[in-house]
């Protein structure tokens, strides 16, 4: 790793650490109450007392952004983990199954993939109803096909690997071969995908909230704050600016970490 890459990694991990702290105990980083309104102090531009300014109800934007981390991170992690587990199961089953089952599963996944992920999540939320849980479920369902595809491809190619054939020639049973030789090979790329997937899930969740389909006001949520910001764009540009920075920085950090994971996996 070059010096620049090392610095970038350190920064990314630092950002991730800050995010985790913000998710668990936001007041450790900034003591103000995200829900405390102050109508008289509305639309205050960034200052020492309010580094991110205040919104239309006089609430401190920095406190709200920090508080929003928990929801965003929570939804992102939950959705991605669920998608990874389900995708792994479907993908490996499909990769090992006989041609019949495999093609049925593949077709089904193809149909789902015909949908852009965001639109699919949108439609699922339409059915389940708005709210953070609905958003998490929607995002994870929309993400499963991608993980299943990678798991299936990995399974198929691992099955053809010399050492898998060797295991078969040695007389090792099918399940054991799968568990020992195939799954470890597949987990690597999946984990790399998942690390970046968390970032993507966070953006999608914020997007759905921005459209009014996620958490409802007055809950602090990055997409919601951005929506507030949109409504008062000409007057108070800072309400829209900072949650967006938070999202971008989060996604950047997960991308960097995800790439490092992928490089590690490919080198093995």
């Amino acid at each position: 790793m070059s010096a620049v890459q090392r610095v970038v990694m350190v920064v990314a991990i630092a950002v991730a650490a800050v995010l985790v702290i913000a998710a668990i105990a936001p007041t450790l980083l900034w003591p103000l109450d995200p829900l405390a309104t102050d109508p008289g102090g509305a639309f205050a531009p960034p200052s020492a007392a309010h580094p991110f300014g205040t919104d239309q109800s006089g609430r401190d934007v920095l406190a709200r952004v920090l508080a929003g981390t928990r929801l965003s991170l929570g939804v992102g992690l939950a959705a991605t983990t669920a998608a990874l587990v389900v995708g792994l199961a479907i993908g490996t089953a499909s990769g090992f199954a006989g041609r019949g089952v495999d093609s049925v599963l593949t077709r089904a996944i193809e149909v789902i993939t015909a949908f852009p992920e965001f639109l699919l999540a949108l439609v699922i939320v339409a059915i389940i109803g708005p709210g953070p849980i609905g958003v998490a479920v929607a995002i994870s369902i929309a993400a499963v096909p991608a993980y299943a595809r990678v798991a299936r491809a990995g399974t198929l190619s691992a099955r053809r690997a010399g050492h898998v054939t060797a295991a078969r020639v040695l007389g090792v049973g099918a399940v054991r071969t799968a568990w020992r030789h195939v799954v470890p090979a597949v987990m690597g790329p999946l984990l790399a995908m998942a690390t970046i997937g968390v970032g993507m899930a966070i953006v999608t969740a914020a997007g759905l909230a921005f459209l009014g389909l996620g958490a409802q006001p007055p809950t602090p949520e990055w997409g919601l704050i951005l929506d507030d910001g949109r409504n008062h764009l000409g007057r108070a540009w800072w309400i829209a600016l900072f949650p967006g920075i938070a999202i971008t920085v989060t996604v950047l950090a997960t991308s960097v970490i995800g790439r490092a994971v992928r490089r590690r996996v490919e080198a093995a």
Binding site: R107, A108, E110, V111, A114, F115, P116, E117, F118, L119, L122, V123, I124, V125, A126, I127, G199, V203, A206, G207, F210, L211, G212, L213, G223, L226, G229, R230, L233, G234, W237, A240, L241, P243, G244, I247, T248, V251, L252, S255
Partner: protein, 314 residues
């Protein structure tokens, strides 16, 4: 049956696949809509409507909701084949009309965004060469992909609309009003395209045939133009379906941010109002679009890279 030329057989198979996908989407949509809790009539009339039960019964019969699910499904498929997507619960028109009215605006936006994205990607790959240039370009692209579209749209609007006043803040049908939304939508797409293109190009230049070409006296420019770009294009076209899907998804957000009329607004309204026929219609439409793009991508890929024609045989 055996005497069909290769490409015709492939085309038929592709179309067959497309039909399967659209049918699958329609069926899944139909099932999903049935899952929506609550009485569709109540949904249609709205929570606050004070309507007598016998009128509701009449509406149910009119809509065919009194028949068995299987009959409803078959009737639904039948209507689809004739291009009838049903009637909106909320608005007083057919779904086809609703979609048809707003389609051109969205089409304008996505087409402009695609063109911009391709231009940005090509510029990035052709201009930012060499280790430093490529690294800088990669970083910028990473940021472009990480920043949410609804945020970049707001930023661009603030700076170029409210701030500098170069572009109109309110939406209109003038081309100037198309610039910021199209640019917003184009940024992440162009970034991904640039990355894939660059990976394809540099990957190709690392392979043995690049050495052979170099041994013939081929210089950097010709190497990139004649050899590299073709390989890069293969990778780029391969993700065409995904890119179009992202465009459609992004369009919803961008239209909301810039208050532009279009299918995005229609979709949002329909979802918030639980107007299921419209939602279903949009679902089928987007499935159709993406599946068609995938089919085109397949056909183009086979022409570009004939190795793919052989499949997994070798």
């Amino acid at each position: 049956m055996r005497r069909l030329p290769g490409w015709a057989a492939e085309l038929l198979r592709g179309l067959g696949g497309l039909l399967v996908v659209v049918w699958g989407a329609a069926t899944l949509g139909f099932l999903a809509v049935r899952l929506v809790p609550g009485d569709p009539v109540d949904t249609m009339l709205g929570i606050h409507a004070q309507v007598g039960e016998h009128i509701k019964e009449q509406i149910r019969i009119d809509l065919g909701l009194d028949r068995s699910p299987l009959e409803q499904y078959l009737a639904y498929l039948g209507r689809l084949l004739t291009g009838d997507l049903g009637r909106s619960y909320q608005l007083n028109t057919t779904v086809v009309e609703v979609i048809g009215q707003q389609l051109p605006s969205t089409l304008q936006l996505t087409a402009a965004a695609m063109v911009l994205a391709i231009a940005l990607a090509l510029a990035s790959v052709l201009l930012a060469r060499g280790r430093v240039g490529a690294a800088v370009a990669s970083t910028l692209e990473l940021v472009a992909v990480s920043a949410p579209t609804f945020w970049t749209g707001l930023l661009l609007l603030t700076v170029f609309g409210f701030g500098l006043g170069w572009f109109p803040v309110l939406s209109s049908s003038s081309p100037a009003a198309l610039v910021l939304p199209a640019l917003t939508l184009a940024l992440p797409i162009g970034a991904i395209l640039a990355q894939v293109l660059r990976e394809g190009v540099t990957g190709a230049l690392d392979q043995p045939f690049a050495q052979t070409a170099r041994a013939r006296g081929v210089g950097a420019a010709r190497m990139l133009g004649r050899h590299g770009l073709r390989h890069g294009a293969v990778s780029a076209v391969a993700i065409g379906g995904y890119l179009v899907g992202s465009l459609l998804g992004g369009a919803v957000l961008v239209e909301t941010v810039f208050a532009r009329p279009g299918l995005g607004r229609v979709a949002l309204r329909a979802i918030l109002d639980r107007d299921m026929p419209v939602v279903l219609g949009l679902v089928i439409l987007s499935a159709l679009v993406v599946a068609t793009v995938n089919l085109l991508v397949d056909l183009v890929l086979r022409r570009l890279d004939p190795r793919i024609r052989l499949g997994a045989a070798r």
